[in-house]
């Protein structure tokens, strides 16, 4: 439910969402173009995006209802700055293939999930560098992977709540609070799953961690 539907947000919020999203994607693509051969990255990046998309289709029972994975933290940890175009593609496909989220809200939804993904990437990189000195590699990756996964979803929910409140109607704040409370179990679930995926990837395919276009190749 972190993807907001059409018809709810005000024009300034929608416009700001599109502007920020386009600017961030342009920077991300420009930056990775500068760093290396983007033609080589695109097929790999797309294949990973597809894998994340499929993972986000999995429904997990939460109490009486079910929730699906968001995994924006993991996208950040694995793809680095290229998480932004990946999340954009994911948001568009969710909107047109499954009608989750809206057309006019593609911009703001990309921002709401993309910026937390980048923050998750920073938390993971920063924390892991320090954590590895103190304890086992696995343990530190697990802890900071879980932290990154949890924080990414938490921030996505906070950003979404803010987009609702910024849309002008004071009355939206009740919905925003409801949204945040409803996501607490999902934050915990995402943290556990992201942590375990990060540990798994570190053992099996460590080059996947730290951004496809990153420097740790």
């Amino acid at each position: 439910m972190v993807h907001i539907s059409d018809g709810i947000l005000s024009l300034p919020v929608l416009a700001a969402g599109w502007a920020i999203a386009i600017a961030l994607i342009a920077v991300a693509l420009w930056w990775s173009k500068k760093k290396g051969n983007i033609d080589e990255e695109i097929p790999k990046l797309s294949v990973m995006t597809a894998a994340f998309f499929v993972a986000s289709l999995i429904h997990i029972p939460v109490g009486p209802t079910s929730a699906h994975f968001i995994l924006n933290g993991l996208v950040g940890v694995t793809l680095g700055i290229l998480a932004l175009p990946a999340i954009f593609i994911g948001v568009v496909l969710q909107a047109v293939l499954f009608q989750h989220g809206g057309i006019t809200t593609i911009g703001i939804n990309t921002v709401n999930m993309g910026i937390p993904a980048l923050i998750a990437f920073c938390i993971f990189k920063w924390g892991n560098k320090r954590g590895m000195m103190l304890t086992r590699k696995d343990l530190s990756a697990g802890i900071f992977g879980a932290l990154a996964g949890g924080v990414a979803v938490f921030l996505a929910v906070v950003f979404t709540a803010f987009s609702l409140i910024l849309s002008g109607k004071e009355a939206f704040s009740a919905v925003a609070i409801l949204l945040t409370v409803a996501h607490i179990p999902i934050i915990v679930i995402e943290a556990i799953v992201t942590g375990s995926i990060v540990v798994f990837l570190l053992r099996v395919k460590p080059e996947l961690i730290g951004g496809l276009g990153g420097d740790e190749k």
Partner: protein, 256 residues
């Protein structure tokens, strides 16, 4: 467990919406969606909803299919219909235990719902009436940056591959007695299954790139689809865009 994206399942039907040029269709309906989403009052929004339903009928998509795709928006809209009447200040309808239901709030909740539902309905005549790969090619013709177009093509194609792959993994897990519950053990196991999916897809991504390179892939896709605008396409697109604009302009004249 995981479902296929089947948005273009009925794209081979024949209707005015199916015959509509994909490029013009994308532009016209996107403008109409933006127009309806930004409508300030309920009467206009209801006209928008009516128009959306007419476009859906014109597309001849089966009702069951349409409802399956429309139903998700209710999840997001229902909290608004329930909460808004009690949180917007205005004329009181009734109150109990300190909760006051207002006319303005009710109207605003319904307005949000009507706009959201209209937008979702319009996505169907826009997207479900063209094969999705052709829609992506139409986006390319509309000057979407090449990198994004390619990402759309590859991602869309590999979603199907990975749905099958994950279903296989899932079946194997189920065969060994795994049951999906919300506890740490089950979540960690899912994490490992997903990790396997990511590792496999990454390796597949490398192979895909090598295979593409060896066949002369340079990063610019060639397409065999030829788009051609006919007179009817211009008329239909003009009508939709005109309607979208007039929804916002006509009320200005009615008030002055």
């Amino acid at each position: 467990m995981v479902e296929y994206p089947e948005i273009d399942r009925y794209s081979s039907l024949d209707s005015p919406m199916h015959r509509f040029d994909p490029r013009a269709k994308l532009i016209a309906f996107t403008i109409l969606i933006f127009s309806i989403v930004l409508l300030p009052n309920l009467k206009l929004a209801l006209i928008g909803l009516l128009a959306s339903i007419l476009f859906l009928i014109a597309s001849k998509l089966p009702l069951r299919f349409a409802l399956q795709h429309i139903k998700w928006v209710f999840l997001f809209v229902v909290p608004f219909i329930i909460i808004m009447p009690f949180t917007v200040n205005g004329t009181e309808i009734f109150s109990f235990y300190g909760l006051t239901m207002t006319y303005e709030g009710l109207e605003y909740g319904i307005l949000v719902a009507v706009r959201a539902i209209s937008a979702v309905i319009l996505v169907l005549p826009m997207i479900a009436t063209t094969r999705f790969d052709i829609t992506i090619k139409a986006l390319a013709k509309l000057k979407m940056p090449n990198m994004l177009v390619q990402m759309f093509m590859f991602t869309y194609r590999y979603i199907f591959v990975f749905v099958v792959e994950f279903q296989r993994t899932w079946r194997a897990m189920a065969a060994r007695g795994f049951k999906l519950k919300t506890n740490v053990y089950a979540l960690k196991t899912i994490g490992k299954a997903l990790g396997t999916l990511f590792v496999r897809s990454y390796e597949r991504g490398e192979r895909v790139y090598q295979a593409l390179r060896s066949r002369g892939y340079t990063g610019s896709p060639k397409t065999l689809v030829v788009f051609k605008m006919h007179v009817l396409d211009y008329i239909l697109a003009g009508t939709i865009i005109g309607f979208a604009v007039s929804l916002h302009i006509i009320p200005l004249y009615l008030h002055s």
